[in-house]
Symmetry: C2
Subunit: 395 residues, 2 copies
């Protein structure tokens, strides 16, 4: 939208990427379970594995095909397919955002249902300071399902909300995916002791993330400023759902949220407009200035002056440099910048070119994510007994 | 297309049905596995089941959650979602039929992959007359996968091909689904001895068919002559894929084909036009005669007279009442009816109203299907040792 000329641009290229991604995941199934097929069919040539199986069968354990792992992979895939179907519907039909936010909830159903049917683990580790009161573990029961559903609703909408300039949706998703991959790599040999109880969860996560990074990189190539294609809601939903799936089924949803710091900030910062305390225009993307070729923070105009409470809140935010307001000659607020992280950044840094803002956002996302991961693996020892990277843990 | 007036009609109502169907299947997962959840978690109140489990655990078997069954349910669901995604894409993009026929092949991948990973049973029972040469069972290996893929490609395209008048796609699907349900019911208590080795496969099939019958009935209500909505390719593909999924994962694909007799006839009968031995117009649906309000067989026009071989073949078919040709004054063939079962029926029965033709087709489908099922359960004893309804069997 922020271009001097306005050519027609294909809008739902995200759907094409999504289908390619799903096909890649489906075709990968036999590779993900190759080791188990060989072991379970006891043919397959790998003598070491076969001997181990025979040995195990006579012992306490029975090596068998990990149907549970397969079911969890398939349920993740089902949720992703659901979100793609609903996302395409959304791109075509232009649903109101009030109804849109619940789309990921429908898509989360297969994952949650399979979790309920197949695993049903709803215990979480209690932080050390609370352990005297609550014990080592607490069974959240159905609250845990609410929590998972909330993650699944939040992630896609958070990605979708931090949008408005070319390439930003794909770029932020790519940063988050790469950081998640980094986190997964920490659990794999030779960095971690093998076999580690969380190795499988993180391998699972890598299976989902690698092809996602592939299609996202290809999409970013065409979607980067100046965009030749747009991604549509389908991509944003898919990206968020990929993160929700690996976070939930890989049992590291808290770590996941640490990588969403800019999105969480953007959401919290937007709430006054979402709840219409401050007028909210249809689009809040930064404003393009055709004479300079730069973009600047967009504003919402106050047709009626705000109520005293809101006026003084805006005044406070203005002093904290969290919003920029303009007053008329008699001191009434006539416009304030829209409450998105992109506009805030432009308030802080001044007008800049669209691609420069996208680069800045990539930097912010990367820094916040790295800080989050550092906190996760170093500072977590303060509230939990151990970092699960080095030793057993349940959740 | 065969209406005096041509109002705008929503074309992709099949996609809406498909999404409703998928949601129903997803939400049904916990109910399908309820008994197993109760047994596996050993809580759940049903004392009989719990006692039985404890008893079994001390015996030879270990009652555990049937992950394999869940994986097979999920893989069926994945294939259906795939076909819906690709079907919607097809409805939107208008792909050439040469590429369209392969769409179900992509959608079959998840099912086949999960079959490969999780079950891998590729033995089939050999008919008695061949047993001296081949033994009791034969391992088809990868040929069995080709066979399953062929079923998955054939069923959706067969449904899609028998189209052209209001309601016919939905009506034929509904008849096939109800007949399959009837066949499933034969395997359930109290008709069959319980527990029967095939009970689970047929329960699985019922889970998929009941909601399908529900959405199809709703769709038929609006799609019946005169149509208020069209179903689009999405519905035809979905219907065919539902049948392929239950046939393949329920291990009764041969029985399934017996219910597709009119479709198989339609396909074989169409081949001369599909391979362009006879000119093939874009649409071959029956021709509407606005003056009588009836429809009659549509024709393909021979701009050049046919080659002698084709001319004599057409002459033969004409004598067999399998096609109707028209000649000009010097005896050259100038037009012949299009080779579809609908046109053939009109050649036999004469022009009729569109809904009457649809009723006739429902009758044909039902009669052929009932005959097929009768052959399956009574005459199968001639080529196999036993009907698997009454006793053990492998495939």
């Amino acid at each position: 939208m922020a271009k001097p000329k306005k050519p027609e641009i294909p809008e739902t290229m995200g759907a094409v990427c999504a289908v390619a991604y799903l096909l890649a995941l489906i075709v990968f199934i036999p590779f993900a379970f190759y080791k188990d097929i060989v072991a379970a069919t006891s043919g397959g040539g790998n003598r070491d594995v076969v001997i181990e199986v025979q040995h195990i069968e006579t012992g306490r354990f029975l090596h068998r095909f990990p149907h549970g792992k397969l079911a969890s992979y398939l349920s993740g895939l089902l949720s992703l397919q659901c979100i793609v179907i609903l996302g395409i519907g959304d791109d075509l039909l232009d649903i109101r955002w009030r109804h849109k936010v619940l789309i990921p909830a429908f898509a989360a159903i297969p994952m949650l249902v399979v979790y309920l049917v197949d695993f049903g683990v709803t215990h979480v580790v209690v932080p050390v300071p609370l352990q005297p009161y609550l014990g080592g573990f607490i069974d959240l029961g159905w609250l845990y399902y609410i929590y998972m559903a909330a993650i699944a609703i939040f992630c896609p909408n958070a990605i979708n909300m931090l949008a408005g300039i070319n390439g930003i949706e794909v770029a932020q998703s790519l940063v988050i995916a790469v950081l998640l991959l980094l986190n997964d790599a920490l659990y794999l040999a030779p960095i971690s002791p093998y076999p580690h109880p969380a190795t499988d969860s993180h391998l699972f996560s890598i299976y989902f993330l690698l092809p996602f990074i592939g299609v996202s990189a290809a999409l970013l190539w065409h979607n980067w400023y100046p965009s030749k294609v747009f991604v549509g809601d389908t991509y944003c939903y898919l990206a968020g759902m990929v993160f929700a799936v690996v976070g939930i089924l890989g049992h590291f949803s808290k770590t996941l949220l640490l990588l969403f710091i800019p999105q969480i900030f953007n959401f919290v910062y937007s709430t006054p407009q979402l709840f219409h305390l401050i007028p909210c225009p249809r689009h809040r993307l930064p404003r393009f200035n055709a004479s300079t070729g730069l973009i600047d923070a967009s504003v919402t105009e106050w047709t009626h002056p705000p109520s005293p409470l809101i006026a003084s809140s805006l005044e406070l935010l203005h002093k904290l440099h969290l919003v920029r307001v303009q007053r008329n000659s008699i001191g009434q607020i006539i416009e304030s910048t829209n409450l998105t992280i992109l506009n805030l950044w432009l308030v802080w840094m001044g007008p800049m070119r669209e691609d420069r803002l996208a680069w800045h956002m990539i930097g912010v996302q990367t820094m916040c994510g790295l800080l989050g991961l550092f906190a996760r693996h170093r500072l977590a020892l303060l509230v939990f007994n151990q970092d699960n990277r080095s030793f057993h843990s349940v959740v």
